[in-house]
């Protein structure tokens, strides 16, 4: 595994949790984002994720660097899966370790918010009677995600 990666196979969150754990860590937060069946009353059959893989991995690593700047001492690993995902599959995993729990919680939430803003990954919802690419983003985010 790579600490910041886009994968096409099922995600094992333990791998990322193990990666961030070290002797100085007093806390590990592990977030897994899953495919949800119902969204605003519409039933999803499955999701199709697509990524601009090299840029997505670069942006994930930049988010990791932002987190290390904002919360010194955290260690981060993030993976996002692409391809066809079914109900309850893991789409994204964010593992954060830190000496104390507060930073691990805060940094983990920061990561998912940033992923939704800047990482070039797209989700298509496939329903029983149709499909749609989703997306909502600021037109021009701060140039260079590394600038915090």
């Amino acid at each position: 595994m790579k600490p910041f990666e886009v994968v096409e196979t099922p995600i094992d969150p333990q791998v990322y949790s193990d990666y961030v754990l070290h002797a100085g860590a007093g806390a590990v937060t592990l977030f897994t984002g899953h495919v949800r069946e119902w969204t605003h009353g519409v039933r999803t059959v499955y999701l199709a994720y697509e990524a601009y893989v090299p840029m997505a991995e670069k942006k994930l690593a930049e988010i990791g660097m932002e987190m290390e700047t904002k919360w010194p001492g955290v260690k981060v690993a993030i993976a996002h899966r692409i391809g066809e995902l079914h109900i309850s599959d893991i789409a994204v995993v964010i593992a954060v370790s830190s000496p104390h729990r507060k930073a691990a919680y805060e940094a983990n939430e920061y990561a998912i918010e940033r992923i939704k803003e800047v990482v070039p990954i797209w989700k298509k919802e496939i329903w029983e009677d149709g499909e749609e690419w989703l997306g909502a983003q600021k037109k021009y985010p701060d140039k260079g995600v590394g600038s915090v």
Partner: protein, 77 residues
Amino acid sequence: MIRVQYFARLRELTGKGQETLDRDQLTVQQLLDWAEETYPGFGKDDIQVAVNEEYALPEDIIRSGDECAFIPPVSGG
């Protein structure tokens, strides 16, 4: 020669994942204008352009050899 890539809705709209433009230089805005003209319904106002895997601004210059990608609103997570 400038390489451009299409993803998600734009890949389906254009019917291709990538193509090359025989240009030496143009701005990001000019690239967006070209795409809108070439592919009706492109929706350039909601699309960002990445040049060499970094988000670019409308006035940034794209040069021959650069790798561009049209980035429609992202929806990861």
